[in-house]
C-alpha cells in the first residue's frame, strides 16, 4: 500500500544523492561560476533527469521527481534544479511542447517561474506582453516556461515556452535573500513564444499542473534543505561542549531540536503524499499539494531560524555552511505558494476536504 518505495525510487534517491553531494563538494566555494553551473547541468542531464521526451522514463513519475527535488535541497547547489524539473515534468506530459526544446544543448538551462499572486503576462494575437517575475538564472537561461493569461482573463490558464534570446526580452535583476542564486524580472514586450498549451495530454489544465508541480517540488526541496540543516545542527549539538557537557545534554536545546524533527518528518511525509496524489489524480491533488506547501512554507522558516539559534554565533557566519541552507529555505518558503497566497485556494477546499480522501 501507499508508501512502499519501489526499487526504482530507491535507486534514483541513492544515485542522485551521491551525484549531487559529489557536485556540491567539487564545486566548492565558487558556486556561481559559469563552469560550475555547466558541470551541474551536464551531470544532471547525464543522469537522465532532464529528458522531456522520455515518455516512459522515471522522470514521468511525480514520486521520483519529488525525490530528486528533495535531494537537490539536501545538496543546496546554486543551480535552478527545481525550476528546470518543474518545466521538464510538465512538458514531458505535453508532446506539443517538446519540439521547443529540441535545439537546447546539454547544460543549457530551461527555467520557469510560477508568478505566484502576481499578474501573469498576457498572450494576445500570438504575442506576449507583461513581466515574468522572480525568474532564476534568467541571465544565462535558454528557455523560459511561464504561465500566461489569455486576452483579458484574470487567471493564467496556459503556459508558454519562450526563447530567452528572442527580441523584446529585457531582464532586470532583483535582490535575493539567497545572494548566490540570481533572480530576475523578465520584461516581455511583444514577444512571440515558441509554443503554448492550455491542456496536457490527459486534458488537465497545463497552468494548474505546472503550479501544483512547482509547489510540490518546492516543498520537497525545503524538506531536503531542512534535513541537511537539522543534521548539521544535530552533529553540532553532540560535539560542541560548554559548561563541561555537550550542548545536546541540555533539555531546553534538545527539545527545540526534537520539535523541528517533528516538523521535518511531517513536511517530508506531506511532500510524498502530495506527489502520490499529483501523479494519480492531478485534479484531486490541490488540497494535498497546497497543504504541503502551506505547511512547509510556515514551518521551514521556523526550522531554519531554530537551527541558527541552536548554533549560536558560529551559525551566523558566512564561512559556516548553515547560512546557505537557511537562505535556500527562506527563499523557497517565500515563493511557489506561501501561506498568504494560498489562503483563498485552501479555504475553498474546506467543504470538499472530507470527501476528497
Amino acid at each position: 500500500m501507499l508508501y512502499e518505495r519501489t526499487e526504482d525510487e530507491r535507486l534514483v534517491e541513492a544515485t542522485v544523492h551521491r551525484a549531487l553531494q559529489d557536485l556540491a563538494g567539487s564545486v566548492g566555494a565558487d558556486r556561481t561560476a559559469e563552469s560550475a553551473a555547466h558541470q551541474v547541468g551536464e551531470r544532471l542531464v547525464g543522469l537522465g533527469l532532464f529528458h522531456a521526451d522520455d515518455s516512459e522514463g522515471l522522470m514521468r513519475s511525480m514520486r521520483v521527481v519529488q525525490i530528486v527535488a528533495r535531494e537537490s535541497g539536501r545538496a543546496c547547489l546554486a543551480f535552478p534544479i527545481l525550476e528546470g524539473l518543474a518545466a521538464e515534468t510538465v512538458m514531458g506530459r505535453a508532446p506539443r511542447l517538446r519540439p521547443s526544446l529540441s535545439d537546447c544543448g546539454v547544460g543549457e538551462l530551461t527555467i520557469s517561474t510560477v508568478m505566484e499572486g502576481q499578474a501573469a503576462p498576457i498572450y494576445v494575437a500570438g504575442r506576449l506582453q507583461g513581466i515574468a517575475r522572480v525568474v532564476p538564472f534568467a541571465d544565462r537561461a535558454r528557455r523560459l516556461i511561464v504561465p500566461v493569461r489569455q486576452g483579458d482573463g484574470r487567471d493564467s490558464s496556459s503556459i508558454a515556452v519562450i526563447d530567452m534570446r528572442a527580441a523584446g526580452i529585457h531582464i532586470h535583476p532583483r535582490v535575493s535573500v539567497e545572494s548566490d542564486y540570481p533572480v530576475f524580472d523578465v520584461a516581455l514586450n511583444d514577444v512571440r513564444p515558441l509554443s503554448s498549451i492550455n491542456t496536457i495530454e490527459d486534458g488537465t489544465p497545463a497552468a494548474m499542473l505546472f503550479r501544483l508541480t512547482s509547489s510540490l517540488l518546492a516543498t520537497a526541496e525545503i524538506a531536503g534543505a531542512s534535513a541537511t540543516a537539522l543534521e548539521m545542527t544535530r552533529q553540532y549539538m553532540l560535539t560542541r561542549t560548554q559548561f563541561g557537557r555537550p550542548l545536546g545534554a541540555n533539555q531546553a536545546l534538545k527539545h527545540v531540536l526534537a520539535n523541528n524533527y517533528v516538523r521535518l518528518e511531517t513536511m517530508t511525509a506531506a511532500a510524498e503524499y502530495a506527489a502520490m496524489f499529483l501523479e494519480a489524480d492531478p485534479r484531486g491533488a490541490p488540497l494535498a499539494v497546497l497543504s504541503a506547501k502551506h505547511y512547509a512554507s510556515r514551518v521551514g522558516k521556523l526550522l531554519a531560524e531554530d537551527m541558527l539559534q541552536l548554533h549560536g554565533a558560529i551559525g551566523y557566519t558566512q564561512e559556516y555552511a548553515l547560512q546557505r541552507f537557511m537562505r535556500r529555505i527562506l527563499r523557497l518558503c517565500a515563493t511557489h505558494g506561501t501561506p498568504s497566497t494560498l489562503t483563498d485556494q485552501l479555504f475553498g477546499q474546506l467543504e470538499a476536504a472530507s470527501e476528497l480522501h
Binding site: T266, A270, M276, L287, S291, P339, S340, L342, L350, H357
Partner: protein, 389 residues
C-alpha cells in the same frame, strides 16, 4: 484517496459509510449529545454504541478471527477510524480495551488469555481501564511502587494508581506492578489483567477541569490474582508495554484527523451562518488549520503503510503524538476565534455551539496524557536523534 485502496478496501469503506449514515444513534449530532446525559446514562449510551458496532461486524477488525476479530488489516482499521471520525460518531467507552489491551494480548498474551479476553473486548462485554500512573510516578513511570508479591501460586497486589480513565465503568484493569527489585527500574515490572470487582479494589473519582469525572484514583489493598492473570513474562512488563505503546501511539484513534476536520468545518460554517463571510485574517487561520490536518493525514497514511508493509514502529510514533495533540489544540483555538462568545459562553439552548467548549477543554489534557509533549520530545531527542540523556 481511491487510488490508494484496493477494490475490496473501497467497498469496505462504502459499506461502512452507508451503515453509519443509517445507524448513528438517536440524540447524537455533530459529535455530541443533543440533550443532557448524566454520567451513568453517558456510559450506558457509549457501551450500547460499541455493542452495536460489534453486532454489525465493525469490532476487532484487524484481530485474528480465532480471537473474535475479523482478520482484516491495519488498512481497514484505519478506514474505520476515518469514517467514524468524518461523521464525529460516538467514541465509545472501551478505547483502552480495544486499542491498548488488545495489542498487549496479541503481542504477549497466552493462548488462553487471547481466546478468553479478546472476544469479550471486541463485544464490549468487558470494558478495560489502564492502571499505570501513580501519584509519585507519572512521567517517570518506571519508578512506580505498586507491588505484586507471589505467594502460594497467587499474586497479592498492594498500591495505588491515579488518572485511571473510566475506572468507575470498567470491568477489567491492565495493571502494571513491580514484582521484583532490579538495578534498572524498568526491569522487574509485570503486567496483570485485574478484575475491577476483585476484593480489595476501591476507587475514587477525580473532578476534572472540564467538569467531567472520568478519571479516578484506584486503591489496591491486598488484591489477590491468580498466576494466570500475569500477561507476558514476569518481570518483562515494561518492555511489553513499551513495544505495544509505540504501535498504539501510531494506530490509536485513527478517527482523530477526520474528526478534527469535522470540528473545523462545523465551526466555520456555524460562524459564517451567524456572522456572514469571514475576514481575511480568519480565513487564513482556517486555511492554516486545514493545511495542518491534511499533512497530519499524510503522516497517518505513511505510518499505516509502514505497518501494512510489515515494518515495526518504534519511538518515531512520538512524532505522531506531538502532531495530533498540538494540531488539535490549534483547531480548537481557531474554533474559539470563529465563534467568540458563542464558544466560551454559549446559550443554554445553543446545542450546536455548545459542542466546542468541552472539546477545547479536553485538548488541554491531550498534550499531557499518553506521555506529555515534553516526554515525547525527550524520546525523540534521545532515541531518534542520539542526544545524551
Amino acid at each position: 484517496m481511491d487510488f490508494l485502496l484496493t477494490p475490496e478496501q473501497r467497498a469496505f469503506r462504502q459499506r461502512l459509510r452507508d451503515w453509519l449514515a443509517a445507524n448513528l444513534p438517536e440524540n447524537w449530532r455533530d459529535g455530541h449529545y443533543v440533550r443532557e446525559l448524566d454520567e451513568t446514562e453517558h456510559a450506558r449510551y457509549q457501551r450500547a454504541w460499541e455493542k452495536k458496532l460489534h453486532a454489525a461486524g465493525y469490532a476487532g477488525l484487524h484481530w485474528p478471527a480465532q480471537y473474535g476479530g475479523k482478520g482484516l488489516s491495519i488498512v481497514e482499521h484505519f478506514l474505520f477510524g476515518e469514517e467514524t471520525g468524518r461523521v464525529a460518531a460516538p467514541e465509545g467507552i472501551n478505547t483502552i480495551g480495544r486499542e491498548l489491551v488488545g495489542g498487549v494480548l496479541l503481542y504477549a498474551g497466552s493462548e488462553s488469555q487471547k481466546r478468553t479476553l479478546l472476544p469479550r473486548i471486541a463485544a464490549c462485554d468487558d470494558v478495560w481501564c489502564q492502571g499505570f500512573s501513580e501519584p509519585n510516578s507519572g512521567s517517570d513511570l518506571a519508578s512506580l511502587r505498586t507491588r505484586g508479591v507471589e505467594h502460594q501460586g497467587k499474586w497479592r497486589i498492594n498500591g495505588q494508581k491515579i488518572w485511571t480513565s473510566y475506572a468507575q465503568h470498567a470491568d477489567m484493569c491492565l495493571l502494571l506492578a513491580r514484582t521484583s527489585d532490579e538495578e534498572r527500574q524498568q526491569r522487574g515490572l509485570t503486567l496483570f489483567a485485574m478484575p475491577m470487582k476483585a476484593p480489595g479494589v476501591t476507587r475514587r473519582s477525580i473532578a476534572q477541569l472540564n467538569g467531567q469525572a472520568d478519571l479516578n484514583e484506584v486503591f489496591l489493598d491486598g488484591v489477590e490474582l491468580g498466576e494466570e492473570a500475569a500477561i507476558g513474562p514476569v518481570g518483562e512488563g515494561w518492555s511489553v508495554a513499551g513495544a505495544v505503546l509505540n504501535i498504539e501511539r501510531a494506530t490509536t484513534r485513527f478517527y482523530r484527523q477526520a474528526r478534527y476536520l469535522n470540528e473545523l468545518r462545523h465551526a466555520t460554517n456555524l460562524a459564517i451562518g451567524r456572522g456572514g463571510a469571514l475576514d481575511a485574517s480568519m480565513r487564513q487561520r482556517v486555511a492554516t488549520s486545514l493545511a495542518e490536518l491534511t499533512v497530519f493525514r499524510a503522516l497517518n497514511v505513511k505510518f499505516v503503510s509502514r505497518i501494512a508493509n510489515g515494518e515495526r514502529i518504534g519511538p518515531e510514533s512520538s512524532v505522531l503524538k506531538q502532531i495530533w495533540s498540538h494540531f488539535h489544540q490549534n483547531v480548537t483555538d481557531v474554533c474559539a476565534e470563529l465563534l467568540g462568545d458563542d464558544h466560551w459562553l454559549p446559550r443554554a439552548d445553543d446545542v450546536e455551539a455548545s459542542r466546542f467548549l468541552p472539546v477545547y477543554l479536553h485538548t488541554r489534557a491531550e498534550t499531557i496524557f499518553a506521555g506529555t509533549s515534553e516526554v515525547q520530545n525527550n524520546i525523540i531527542a534521545e532515541r531518534l536523534l542520539g542526544m545524551p540523556r
